[in-house]
């Protein structure tokens, strides 16, 4: 019960019901599709870069509560971050959802993302939480082909 409540925290439920930045971005500098074939989670992540800074992030698509909330929180925390900062957050988030202990400093950097700590208790759901991040990573790496978590 408590593990389940840790997974479906209020922050996650709220972002699932009313996702932030859930829109197409016509002036995106990059976008890519991310797909989890096993459960059918399917998103497109859009990014608009201004020099070294992520000026805007948005997404469209459909999937489970965990993946949608993850995309929503990700899009709101990354706005205004530099590529280096984003890379750091990607690593911290990955450590968080896979249950690797992260430093206090790392936890602080995570902020709202800490709501996803409960995911590590559900190995089958780690891919759901990380799909939007892997997709974003592919956009920032300049990839153009859709990515898959399988």
């Amino acid at each position: 019960m408590s593990a389940l409540r840790d997974l479906y925290q209020q922050v996650i439920l709220d972002h699932n019901r009313n996702p932030k930045n859930f829109r197409v971005m016509p002036d995106a500098t990059g976008s890519i599709e991310g797909y989890n074939p096993l459960c059918g989670d399917h998103y497109t992540v859009f990014v608009r870069m201004e020099g070294d800074v992520i000026a805007d992030v948005s997404f469209t698509g459909a999937g489970c509560a965990i993946s949608k909330a993850s995309a929503s929180v990700m899009s709101s925390v990354l706005k205004g971050k530099t590529l280096v900062e984003a890379e750091g957050m990607f690593k911290d988030f990955h450590a968080l959802v896979t249950g690797v202990a992260s430093s206090e400093e790392g936890m602080e950097r995570l902020g709202k993302l800490a709501a996803f700590a409960g995911v590590s208790e559900f190995p089958a759901r780690v891919k759901c939480a990380s799909l939007p991040w892997h997709t974003l990573h592919a956009v920032l790496d300049g990839k153009s082909r859709p990515i898959s978590t399988e």
């Binding site: 019960m1 593990a3 389940l4 997974l7 479906y8 439920l13 699932n16 074939p37 096993l38 459960c39 059918g40 989670d41 399917h42 459909a62 999937g63 489970c64 509560a65 965990i66 559900f122 089958a124 759901r125 759901c128």
Partner: protein, 435 residues
């Protein structure tokens, strides 16, 4: 005269009422006997997440009765040895036990000959064998292979690869909104170019029981052979390959209360004899020189290498077990579970059943408005309930119904109405947490 008629009619009614009462009593007794079988399955006694396990993932794999576990163990403890060709005691014992299973399978399917029973790893390998061996000799450029919309990926991909290789065309029989084959469309798709029809007997994603006997007859009217995928049928109903008149029939032991890694391809002698080997090596030969190899007779021509002997013996024990319960009663019992579950889930707001065929096996595939199946699966798991969520290796079915995935509860005879009640309470909780 008039009075007499009334009397005899009354007597007739009374006799009919007696018969009906007797049939009802028999059914109750048979159902009671089936309920008593649950304790044969040791795994069903365990707890998951602190709750008694409710195992509703039977379409993925079934649990194993103690007799199957014991038979496998006994083989390794007392008889383990390589089969065929051995002159020593153990090899003869193991060969006898393993070949004895072939006879059990022959009787289970009512096949005409032992040689028509080929041991494979499972349904997937059985279909691959036919696609590779029969397909590569019978299908050429411009020919067609006919499958249905509701096939498992294992009955799509081998044919797709064959068609790509040969320049042939993969044709697909459409299904209606209930998840039933459209027979009129099927008839139109049977053409002189069609070289084989490969069709599921029971759909794993929808539960639909296809009218396979009729469909085989329709294909045969055009001289086209038919392969039936029986993975979801054999565990739940009596299958008679001669009555169905199919040319190939495949199933896996693990969905039918036996071990993983072993299954059966049934094929009619005439076709099997003409087919080249699928894999080659030991056991499938009569003689080998560097100039020429003479292949073995059926069924060994298709059984290269040391097989899964322990698994085969476990499958034999599973067949003995099913025969004791009586496959016909199982189907009736499971149907009652399905009816009960179907009625109960109607009380969940926003729940929609995917697959509402008139002839249906005990599979309940569903979606709930605004809630992804994956979240349903996680919350049910927390209550100790095992269901499957996703595309069930049948992505074209998901596309047909316009859903990315479904949640699927699939029942076996050892499940109970009380478990369905637990499942319902958990579905209410899903709405509570995510609704």
């Amino acid at each position: 005269m008039h009075t007499t008629t009334v009397h005899s009619s009354k007597a007739g009614k009374a006799a009919m009422a007696n018969d009906a009462e007797k049939a009802g009593r028999d059914l109750l007794e048979r159902f009671e006997a089936i309920r008593g079988c649950r304790h044969h399955f040791p795994l069903l006694r365990r707890r998951v997440n602190g709750k008694p396990l409710v195992y509703f993932d039977n379409a993925a794999t079934s649990q194993k009765p103690q007799v199957v576990i014991d038979a496998t163990l006994r083989y390794y403890e007392e008889e383990n040895s390589n089969i065929h060709r051995g002159v020593h005691y153990l090899s003869e014992r193991a060969t006898q036990a393993y070949e004895g299973v072939r006879v059990k399978v022959q009787h289970l399917l009512n096949a005409a000959h032992q040689r028509e029973i080929i041991f494979v790893r499972g349904t997937t390998e059985g279909i691959n064998l036919v696609a590779y061996s029969y397909g590569r000799t019978a299908v050429g450029a411009g020919d067609e292979v006919l499958i249905s919309t509701m096939e498992h990926h294992s009955n799509i991909v081998p044919w797709q690869i064959l068609c790509e290789e040969k320049g042939a065309k993969l044709c697909v029989i459409p299904i209606n909104d209930r998840g039933e084959i459209e027979l009129a469309e099927y008839e139109k798709l049977l053409t002189p170019r069609t070289k084989i029809v490969a069709l599921t007997h029971v759909s794993n994603a929808l539960g639909t029981i296809n009218p396979v006997k009729t469909m085989v007859a329709m294909a045969h009217a055009h001289g086209i052979p038919v392969l039936l995928d029986g993975a979801q049928a054999v565990p739940h109903m009596k299958v008679d390959v001669r009555d169905l008149d199919c040319d190939f029939y495949v199933f896996s032991a693990h969905k039918a209360f036996g071990p993983t890694g072993v299954g059966v391809l049934y094929g009619v002698t005439k076709l099997l004899d003409a087919m080249p080997p699928y894999q080659s090596g030991g056991d499938m030969i009569k003689s080998v020189t560097f100039e020429k190899t003479i292949y073995n007779d059926l069924p060994y021509k298709f059984e290269a290498g040391t097989p899964n002997i322990g698994g085969g013996i476990g499958m034999g024990a599973a067949i003995d077990y099913i025969n004791e319960i009586d496959p016909a009663s199982l189907a009736e019992f499971e149907h009652e579970l399905l009816d009960y579950a179907t009625k109960r889930v109607a009380e969940i707001p926003g729940l929609r059943i995917i697959g509402t065929a008139r002839e249906k096996a005990a599979v309940l595939s569903f979606v709930i408005d605004g809630i992804h199946p994956h979240d349903i699966g996680t919350i049910l798991d927390d209550e100790g309930i095992a269901i499957r969520t996703g595309h069930h290796c049948a992505q074209p079915v998901m596309q047909r119904f316009g859903v990315p995935a479904t949640a699927r509860a699939s029942f076996a005879f050892y499940n109970t109405k009380e478990e369905i009640d637990v499942f319902l309470a958990a579905l209410h909780r899903v709405r509570e947490v995510l609704g």
